[in-house]
Symmetry: C2
Subunit: 172 residues, 2 copies
């Protein structure tokens, strides 16, 4: 995330973020503890366009893409499942596939839907030293009360700052 | 700032932020090193409405409020100056008043104007564990290239995370 709260630029650009890629202990830890991933169709398309796979191709476990309609064809790297019957089904399937490990959610829209459905336990953000000013926001909605979090971790990975929060209250 | 990049809620609400107030080493350090403050009219009105003074009344040094027209009357606590001939004049006056100390800029709009005029050296943000979803953004503009920063400090003050950056490139 940029300091001003964007997780992608306009046109879903991610190049500004990849500039801060490199080794990251928090990301490595997440990969180790992840049993399945859930993401939206838009994130899937961007990952396919820019990186040829999830986590830059480092992820080969179960993945569930929430979409209205599955694509007619998929690239070779895509071994995951397209889920067309809603976010709650996608998360349930991912939890079953993950076993005792975590389910990781990617994408602003999918994460917001999980948050609003009470399905999100934690938020992990890597803050990059850049201001974008426009793009895809970490979280945005027209109304609603603040959602309180509890900071449960903070660490530096070079120029990135890794912040981990527990979600304290669902925005019912 | 909320985790999702808002420095005030809708209607300039600040109550969510004051909940994380308390003692803060970064804020105390800023107060010690500050020689003058520059802010916009909107921030002035909010500070007057909610707190009866800058820094909750803790600031009694020189202050410069950028505005199109000075108000007809001001509250007793307001001993600062209203500047009606632009941001660059306000900053120049503040620098002269600050001597060897820093000039602190308050308010999203004023900070953005300073940034775009090449007048901002550093950004200090206190990240609060909350998602707002709507309100006044730290930084927002319709277009323009990313503004690169360099992280020069990170510290925790309880649930707040204090991040300090140097501005590396002006968005010319």
């Amino acid at each position: 995330m940029s300091l001003d709260g964007f997780i992608a630029g306009s046109d879903d650009a991610m190049d500004w973020a990849f500039a801060y890629g490199g080794p990251n202990a928090a990301v490595d830890g997440v990969l180790q503890s992840t049993g399945a991933i859930v993401l939206g169709r838009r994130t899937y398309e961007v990952e396919n366009r820019d990186r040829g796979g999830f986590y830059g191709g480092a992820w080969s476990g179960p993945s569930f893409v929430v979409t209205h309609e599955a694509p007619a064809s998929v690239p070779d790297w895509m071994t995951g499942t397209f889920v067309t019957d809603g976010i709650e089904r996608a998360v349930a399937s991912a939890k079953a596939a993950a076993g005792t490990k975590n389910v990781v959610v990617f994408g602003a829209s999918t994460a917001r839907q999980c948050l609003e459905a009470g399905l999100l336990d934690e938020i992990l953000v890597h803050v990059a030293p850049v201001l974008l000013g426009h793009g895809v926001r970490l979280f945005a909605r027209a109304r609603g009360r603040p959602i309180k979090l509890e900071k449960i971790g903070a660490a530096e990975s070079g120029q990135l700052t890794d912040l981990r929060f527990r979600v304290l209250r669902w925005p019912r």
